[in-house]
Symmetry: D2
Subunit: 432 residues, 4 copies
C-alpha cells in the first residue's frame, strides 16, 4: 500500500520541516569547499543540490500558489533549473562546478526564505494541487538527499587524499557477521498487478507518475534469491577471471569495461596491507574487504551485475518479478536513517531479506512507460517520462535512501554503465 | 505459423542455391570499388558481406560436419569473423575498409569453394544439427542481403556525387497513388501468446533464439493504426517545428538530434528545384518528395518515431501489441523480391496494411530476453543474446527484407539513434 | 639590462615578503569557494596556486638546503607537484578541482609554515645555489600571480552570473582617451644579440634558462608599429567579415575557429543595450565596447592575431625583431601594480608605446631553444625546456604581469589556440 | 643550385610525360580495390591522388591558359579540389574513401584527357606564367608520388593480412652491409645565406614559395653527424627503456606516446621468429630487424627523433644548419628511382652521407615563413603558406622522393606526431 500523507496542512508542515532538516543534517560534515566539487558528469555539487531543492518549491508551489510571494533572487529561477526545458533555458550541467557565487551563505539564505514562505503557506488549508506538489517536492528533495550522499562520496574519493565523509567512531566498526546462505523463494505463475493508480480525488497516497497506472502482468514461475550477492561472492567471480571472459558479458558491457579498464567494482582498490589484498572506499573511508565480505556488493554497473548472474548460472529478475515478490513486504531495512551509510550483512532470517535498503537491485527490465502511462501535465511532465530510453530499472532503495521515500512500486533508473550509485544485484531463476 | 523448411537435403540445397544466388544478384550493379566502401560505423563493405556469409557456412557447418573439408584459406577463419569472441580474436570492424586484399575475385572464389562443398554435403542425408545450422546460415545470409542494400545505399549517398544503385527505368517511375486515411483497428484485452517454441525433435520450423520461448503476455485494450505514417504526415510534423520543440522528445533523443543537427529524416535534402522543396535519396537516386509523399516515411531513428507519435497525440505500440495484432497476417508485401527497393503507398484496403515489408516499425519495447530465454549453445549463442541492452525492437521487415526471412514473431533491434535502416513507424493508442 | 637581485639575504627576504604578500593580496576579493573553481583545462583553482607556489620553495629550497626542515604534511610533496616527472607521480591536472581538502585554512597554514622557514633561512648568509633557487621561486610565484588573475577571470566569467572580481569604484571608470594613430618605427638590418648569458659566478641577475645564452641573430630591415592594435581596429576586421574569410587564416586556425564557433575575441559578448552592440567582460565586470575601443584588443589566439595582421596587410614580428627593437626600453607600463587589471589606451607619445604591460604580444616565432641552450640540471630542467614544441612565443607582459617579473628578453609561450591570457598583437612590416 | 627547367615547350613536354608516366608506374602493382583504401586521416586513396594531380593541371593551367579547353566532367573541379578554399567548397577529406564512383577507368580517362590537352598546349610556345605553373604542377605531382608510396604502405599494413606492395625478387634481398661509425663534421660560425630568390624574368629555376627569399642567417659553430641514426642505434634507445623515461621527452611528446602506446617506430612489430625479436614492415613486406639494423631508422615522429637525440647526448640540427652544411652537396642518393623503396645502409665513405634520399630528417625548426616571404598570388597562395603553424621542418627527401624533386633548400613539414612518412634523424652538436 502506498505511503499516505496527512491532509491537514499542519502535519504536512511537520513533514516538510523533517525533510528539510534531514537535508541540512547530511551537509553537516561538509565545508563550503566540499560543496563545490563536481567530480563526474552524473554528479552535481552539494551546494547546487541545496539550491535546486529549494528552487523546486519556489517554482512549482510558491510562485504558482502564493500570490504575494517575493522570489528570493531574480536569477535563481533559471540558474537552478535542472532540466525542465518548458521553463526556459538553463545552464549546462557541467557549469555547476563554477557556481562559487552565489556563496553557500546565500544558498542557505535562499533555503530559509523558501522555508519561511512554505511555513506561512502551511498555516492554512491548501488547494489539493498545492498539497500534491508539496508532497512531490518532498519526495524530490529525498531523491536529492540520496544524490548528496552518492555525489559527495564520489567527490571525496576523487580527491587524491581520499578523505572520509565521516570518521566511523571506533565502536561502530562493522562487525563481520555472516550472511545466510543463498537460498531461493519460489513464486507461482499467474496474472499479477503491478504499479498503482492514484485516486485523483485524494491526496492521501503518493507515487511518481512512472509507477502508474496499476496494470495486469502475467508472470511465469520463477525463483528469487533470499538476499543480494555479497562482496565475497563477487570476489569469487573476479578471481575466476570474470572480467576477462567476453562470453559472460553483453556486447555493450564488454566494450564498456575494456574501454574503462574495469577489473573490480567502483571504489575497490588493491591494497597489499590487507589480508584480502583489497580495500573498499566507503563514506567512512577505506575498509579492508575482509571486513565487508558478507555485505552486499555495491557500486556495480548493470553490465557487471548481469555478467555475474550469467557466470553463476542465474539471471537478473525482471522488475515485475521483483515487485510481485515484494509487494507485501514491510518497508524497513538499512536505509539512510540507520546512519550506516553502507550496506550491512543480511540478518540470519528465513525468507526474502534486504528487500529495502542496502543496495539498489538492477533488474533485467528496460525503463519504459506502463500501459496507459501519462506524464504529469505541464513542466512536471518532464520529471520522469522523458528519460524512458536506454536505461534499466533498479528496485528497492539503498543504504542512503530515506525510509519514507521507498516502496515496492518505486522505479529507479540509470543507464547500464552507471556505477556511482549504491547498486548491486539479487539473482533470480526460472522455475517450472 | 513459422516458416517451414523441407527436410530432404535436396530441397534444402534448392533453398541454399536460391539464397546464395539472390546475394550475388544484389551485387550485380556494383563494381569491385563500390564493394570497398564503408561509410559509417554501422556498415560494412559489400565485399566483406560476401565473405562473411560464406565464412558462416564454413565455420559452423563445413568445418564441424564435413570431416574432409579443406578450408579455402588459412587466414579466413579469423579474418571474416564478425563478433564471435568464443572463436578467438578478429579484426576491428573499422578495418574492414582496408580489405583491398583479398581481392573480390578471391572472395568470389571463396564463395564458389564453399558452395561446392555445401553442394556435396547436401547430396546426402544430414544430421539434424547440421540441417538446423544450414537453415540458420541461410537466414543469416538473408539478414546480410538486407545489410548489403542498406550499406550500399549509405555508401553511394556518402559519395558527393550521390550516384544511384540502379537507375529506375522510366516506366517504373513511382506513381503517386493515395494512401488510405489513417484509421484504427481495436484489440480487446486479455492474455495472449508471444513468440514461439521450437520442437527440438523437428527441423521443420525456423526461428531465431530471441523469438523463443512462446510465453503468455497480458495485453491491455489498444488500437493500432491501419498503416504506417507517410512522408506527407511526417512533413507536417517538420513544418510544425517538431524538430525544435524539446517537449516532444525523449531527453536522450533531444541531446542526440541537437548534436547531430537533424531537421529531417536521413536521406532527405532541401531542393529548391522541386515543388515540395525537398528531395529524397533512394536506391534509384533522388526523387522529389512530392512523388513519395504517400509512401511510408523511413530512415527515422526511434527518437524521431517517438517524437512524431507524441506530437500527433498517439504512441508507439509495444512489440507484444504488434505481434498480437499481426500473428495471423499472411507474410506478403513490398519486400525485397518486388524490386521496388523503396516503400510504396499503402493499398486502399480495409484492415491492417503493410504489416510486412515497406518499413521496419519501431516499437516502444526495449530488446531483452523473453521469460525462459536461452541463447543457442556455443559460439552461436553470441548471435543474438549479447546485444540485449540499450536497443529497441523493430517489427515487420522492410522493402529490402527477403520475403522468406520475415514472420510475425521476428524481432529486429537497433540502438534508438539508428537511422540507416529502412525504419519508420505505425502509431498506437490505448483503448478503454 | 636584466633585473638584479640584492645579494645580502636580508634584502632577499624583503623581496620574498613582498612577492608573497602580493599573492595574498590578489586573493583578497575571493572566497574559499571561488578558489575551488577550475573552469578550463588551461586553468587551476586559485587555492592550488597558493599551495603549489609554497610547494616550490619547500621542494627546491627548504628540503634541499635546510637540514632541519620539517615538511608541513607528508602528502603535499606529491599532491602539489605540477608537472615535474623527475620528482615522481602527481595527480592529473583536472583533479585539482576536487581538492576541497586540504581546506583553504590548511593551505594558508602551509604558506605560513613555509614563510617561517624561509624567514629563518634568510637570516643568514646563503649558498649561491640556494639564493638562485629562491630568486627562481619568486619569479615562479610571480608567474602564478598572473595565472591567478587570468584563471579567476575565466572562472568568474564561466559562472552564468558573470560576477566581477572587483567592482570598479565609480571614479575609476575608464575614460575613453584616444590612442595615437598607428605609426611605424624603422629598424636597420644587421647582426644583433638576442637573449643573455648569466655569469655563473654571480647571482645579481636573473633570467629563465630559455632566455639563454646570448647569441647573434641577423635581422633584415623591418618596421614595427608604435603601439598594439586596438579594439576599434579589431572591430573593423570583424565587421569586414574577417572571421568568415578562409583566405585570411592559417589552415589550422580556420579549422579551430570553425570548430569553436569564434566570431570575436574571448570575453566579447553581443549586447543590444550598448551603443556598439558589444560588451566586454573584464575583471571589473562587463564594460561596453565603446568605452574600451581605444585600448589594446586582448584575449586573442595566435590565429586571430595572425589573421588580423594578414587582413590589414602587415604581419606579426618575429621574437628577434621584437627583442631587438625593445632591448633598451625601460620596464614600465600598465603592469599588475597599476591595479587597472585591464589594458588602457596608449599614451599620445612618440616612439614605441606599451612595450611592457597591457597585452602579451604574439610573435611569428615558434618556441624553441636558442643555439647552445641547456636546461637547468635536475628536476628544474623541466621548468621550460620540455614545452618546446607546437607553441608560439609572446613578448612584453600584460596588465596582470608583475612589474619586477618582465624584461625585454622574457619569452612567454602558449599553443596558438590559447585565448585565456591577456594576449594581443603589434604588427610589423618588411622594410627594404 | 636549384633545378633548372628547359624553356622550349618541347622539353617541358618530355618532362611532363616522364613525370606522368612515373605516377602510372607506381600504381602498376595496385588493383582498383587497393586504390580505394584510406587508412589514416593523413592519407588519401591512391585513386584520389591520380585524379587530384590531373585536376591541378586542369585547374591552374588548362582552364586558365587554353581558351578552347573542354573540362572532362562538370563535377571534377570541386570533387578533386584538395584544400583550396579560394576555389570554392570541396568534399571533406575523409569522404575520399567513398569515391567508388567515378571508377578507376574514368579517372584514367580523365588523366588521358588532361594529358592530351597538355600535349596540344606544349606543341607551341608558352606564356611564362603557364610554363611556371606547369613546372609547379609537375613538382606537385612528384609530391603526390611520394604520398602514393607512403599512403599505400600504410593502407596495406593496416590490412590484417599485411600484404606487400611488391614482393622483393630473391636476389634483391637486402645485404646487411655495415654503416660507417657515427662521426662528426664541424662547421664554423658566421653569416650564411639560406633559401633562394627566383629571378621573376626567368623560368629556368624552380623552388616553392616557402624556400624564398634568399636571406642571411647567422650560424653558431656546430657539428653535424656524418649519417642518419640506424635501426641498431635506435634499438639501443628502446632497450635502455627510452620510451618509458619521461625526462627524455618533450611534454607534448610524452603525452602523445602514452596516449598512443608507442614503444617502437611505426611498422615495427614484435616477432618471436626472428633473431632480434622484431620485424619491420616495408613495401616489400616484413623483414627481420637484423637484416635492416644498419639502415637508417624511419617512420619516427619528431618526438621520437628528439627524445633519441636527447638520450644520446646530442640534439637535432636546425634547418639552417642543415641547409648550410649541405648546400653544395650533389643531389644523389637512395631516392625513388633506385626502386629500393626503403632506406639502405650508408656507404663507407668520408664526409656527409645520405644527405638526399633514404629518410627525411627532422630538424629542430618550426615551419614559418622566411623574412620577406610572400605566398604566390591567388589560390596558389594556399599551396604552402597556410600551413605555417604547429609543424616542424624536415629536410633531404627519402627513398620514395623523386630525384628531380629534391634540393638542399627544400622544406618539407609535418606536425610533430606524424609517423607515416619515411622520417628519421641525423644528430647535431654545438661546437665551440
Amino acid at each position: 500500500m502506498p505511503a499516505t500523507i496527512a491532509t491537514p496542512a499542519a502535519s504536512l508542515l511537520a513533514r516538510y520541516k523533517a525533510v528539510r532538516h534531514a537535508t541540512a543534517n547530511l551537509c553537516r560534515p561538509l565545508s563550503p569547499e566540499d560543496m563545490m566539487v563536481q567530480s563526474c558528469p552524473e554528479a552535481s555539487p552539494v551546494k547546487w543540490h541545496l539550491a535546486h531543492t529549494s528552487w523546486f518549491f519556489e517554482t512549482f508551489v510558491l510562485r504558482e500558489f502564493v500570490a504575494a510571494y517575493q522570489p528570493f533572487h531574480p536569477d535563481f529561477p533559471w540558474l537552478f533549473n535542472s532540466y525542465y526545458n518548458s521553463l526556459g533555458d538553463m545552464p549546462e550541467k557541467k557549469l555547476r562546478s563554477s557556481f562559487s557565487r552565489p556563496p553557500l551563505d546565500a544558498i542557505l539564505a535562499y533555503r530559509a526564505h523558501v522555508d519561511a514562505a512554505m511555513d506561512r503557506l502551511l498555516q492554512h488549508p491548501l488547494e489539493d494541487e498545492a498539497a500534491r506538489r508539496i508532497v512531490l517536492g518532498l519526495e524530490h528533495e529525498q531523491q536529492h538527499q540520496e544524490l548528496i550522499a552518492t555525489d559527495i562520496k564520489h567527490a571525496l574519493f576523487t580527491n587524491p587524499l581520499h578523505p572520509a565523509y565521516l570518521e566511523a567512531p571506533p565502536e561502530q566498526k562493522p562487525t563481520p557477521t555472516i550472511a545466510p546462505p543463498l537460498d531461493w523463494i519460489t513464486f507461482n505463475p499467474g496474472l499479477t498487478e503491478i504499479g498503482l493508480t492514484l485516486d485523483p480525488a485524494s491526496i492521501e497516497a503518493f507515487a511518481f507518475d512512472n509507477e502508474t497506472p496499476r496494470h495486469k502482468v502475467y508472470i511465469a514461475p520463477f525463483r528469487l534469491a533470499n538476499r543480494p550477492i555479497t562482496c565475497a561472492e563477487y570476489l569469487a567471480f573476479m578471481e575466476q577471471n570474470g572480467y576477462n571472459r567476453p562470453e559472460l558479458w553483453l556486447s555493450e558491457g564488454w566494450i564498456t569495461q575494456r574501454a574503462e579498464g574495469w577489473q573490480a567494482p567502483l571504489y575497490w582498490q588493491r591494497d597489499t596491507t590487507t589480508k584480502s589484498g583489497w580495500c573498499i572506499y566507503t563514506l567512512h573511508g577505506f575498509i579492508p574487504l575482509e571486513d565487508l565480505s558478507e555485505t552486499p556488493v555495491c557500486h556495480l554497473s548493470f553490465f557487471e551485475a548481469d555478467a555475474y548472474a550469467r557466470w553463476v548460472g542465474h539471471r537478473l529478475p525482471t522488475e515485475f518479478e521483483w515487485e510481485h515478490a515484494t509487494q507485501s513486504h514491510p518497508v524497513q531495512g538499512n536505509l539512510l536513517e540507520t546512519g550506516n551509510l553502507h550496506p550491512t550483512a543480511a540478518p540470519p532470517n528465513e525468507g526474502l531479506q534486504q528487500i529495502f535498503g542496502d543496495v539498489w537491485e538492477w533488474t533485467a527490465s528496460g525503463y519504459t512507460g506502463y500501459p496507459g502511462y501519462h506524464p504529469l501535465p505541464g513542466a512536471l511532465g518532464e520529471y520522469n517520462g522523458k528519460f524512458m530510453s536506454s536505461q534499466m530499472v533498479l528496485r528497492g532503495g539503498s543504504c542512503v535512501t530515506p525510509a519514507t521515500h521507498i516502496r515496492a512500486t518505486y522505479r529507479n533508473f540509470f543507464t547500464p554503465a552507471t556505477r556511482w550509485q549504491f547498486s548491486g544485484l539479487r539473482v533470480a531463476h526460472d522455475a517450472s
